[in-house]
Symmetry: C2
Subunit: 274 residues, 2 copies
């Protein structure tokens, strides 16, 4: 962590009674800072607001968040900004306070150094044993209850494996531990439905938007792992990595980047620092 | 909150990079302090250890925890001690550090003032709309991912309703938002199976143990809400409340406390301060 702002004040600690600590009662965003700009900022703020709304409290003012984000990122050209919004302090017990005062944690991290090959030759992924529980009430939003992702990510330490795919408890493909999944089958772009679990990624939305503009058919559906084998191309997305083509899974190899993946990569600000 | 110890030091703040804040990556216990004693301490420590083990990190030393618990509770005769153990600090990203240094938060709260009638005449409960997602990997332990309980508890503010019952996403009865559920049917004590979701309560275990000692048959099973109507008695348990008989649900009334509930209440240190 390079620096943090907690409720607008420079510091590295939070009140121990905060509901993020006790219940994971909040949401977060991970924003790419590229060329000194907060990338896809309106989309991140919009998802943050939707998340807070789903949890039943008002998100902090957009202008305030933007000012604090700019203050913290300062003159960093390339960095990662994590924003955590919790319901704030509270007494003991699950019941939310009637008039919560949400907490704001903005933390700045250095840009992760991934190999150039991740973009140019693709990554290797595994299928995780840890499953995602299904609950439509929490699906889609980027909330702070992330034990399933932690357990999934702790399943491997082989540095040759860049990401793990997760299934839900019914055996459907959902997403990566920190990314969304796309498949290309017969030239059609497919991505798993997230109405029961998973995080509706900002980059996932962006990729679907660009695909449609390019005349690439795009469908959201329910898929089992065996369908991976029928895909011509696979790739993963998130706001920081952009697009990572997949060259190998537990069950097969793929040309990486594939034809459609390459088209989308060109349109997404992504890849290593040039 | 009366006072807190954070990693052994008196204070009320925690490092903002703690994995409890970011992921709910930890477990907790809520211990009753009665007559200056930490009630059911070995059981709480044992569940804490099991929880940490399930999450893949070593729990802090038992002796250290006991010393800190005694230090914090001081000469309080009746209070609530909440213990949070997280995996500790970490970089950005779900991957746990190879050698985590778990954080210890011990927080002391005043004893909640419930009406005497909750014990002598029973409580009213509702059935919540918020469901519990099913994931055997997280079931049973008292982890920090508690958004489902927060959402369930925010469904009502009628002070006449003391607790809400929760179903899983398949419609099975699981538990209360902060308690475990027992039914008495044809003289047999029944409580929901917790292998897919729910918290395996210390008081639930204690009640089953006492029931067996008293020759009351006790079964763990899978139940749907309509089975509540066939019960002769209902009650809820947790470490702080002990046993609360239920006198009314959305679907029916019960004699409260019923015959078996009364027997168990007499054996459990419970009820208002006398």
């Amino acid at each position: 962590m390079i620096a943090a702002l907690v409720n607008g004040v420079s510091g590295d600690s939070i009140f121990v009674a905060d509901r993020s600590v006790h219940y994971g009662d909040g949401v977060f965003e991970t924003v790419a800072i590229r060329d000194g700009q907060l990338e896809l900022w309106p989309q991140h703020v919009s998802r943050l607001r939707k998340g807070c709304e789903r949890l039943g409290f008002a998100a902090p003012d957009c202008g305030l968040l933007a000012r604090e984000a700019i203050q913290l990122s300062g003159n960093h050209q390339r960095a990662v900004l994590k924003i955590i919004i919790s319901r704030g302090g509270g007494g003991r017990g699950y019941r939310p306070p009637e008039k919560p005062t949400p907490s704001r944690i903005l933390a700045l991290y250095s840009w992760p150094e991934w190999p150039d090959e991740y973009y140019s030759q693709g990554i290797r992924v595994r299928i995780c044993n840890t499953r995602l529980g299904r609950n439509p009430q929490l699906a889609g939003i980027k909330h702070l209850n992330r034990l399933e992702q932690v357990l999934a990510r702790s399943e491997w330490d082989d540095p040759a494996i860049a990401e793990g795919l997760m299934l839900d408890t019914e055996g459907r493909l959902v997403e990566g531990t920190m990314s969304n999944l796309f498949m290309v089958c017969n030239g059609v772009l497919l991505t798993p439905d997230l109405s029961h679990c998973g995080v509706a990624g900002i980059m996932r939305e962006k990729v679907m938007e660009i695909a449609r503009q390019r005349g690439i058919r795009c469908e959201i559906g329910r898929f089992v792992p065996s369908e991976l084998e029928m895909a011509e191309e696979l790739f993963l997305t998130n706001s920081i990595i952009g697009i990572w083509p997949v060259r190998r899974t537990d069950n097969g190899d793929y040309s990486a980047p594939g034809k459609i993946t390459s088209i989308l990569q060109k349109d997404i600000i992504t890849g290593p620092l040039t």
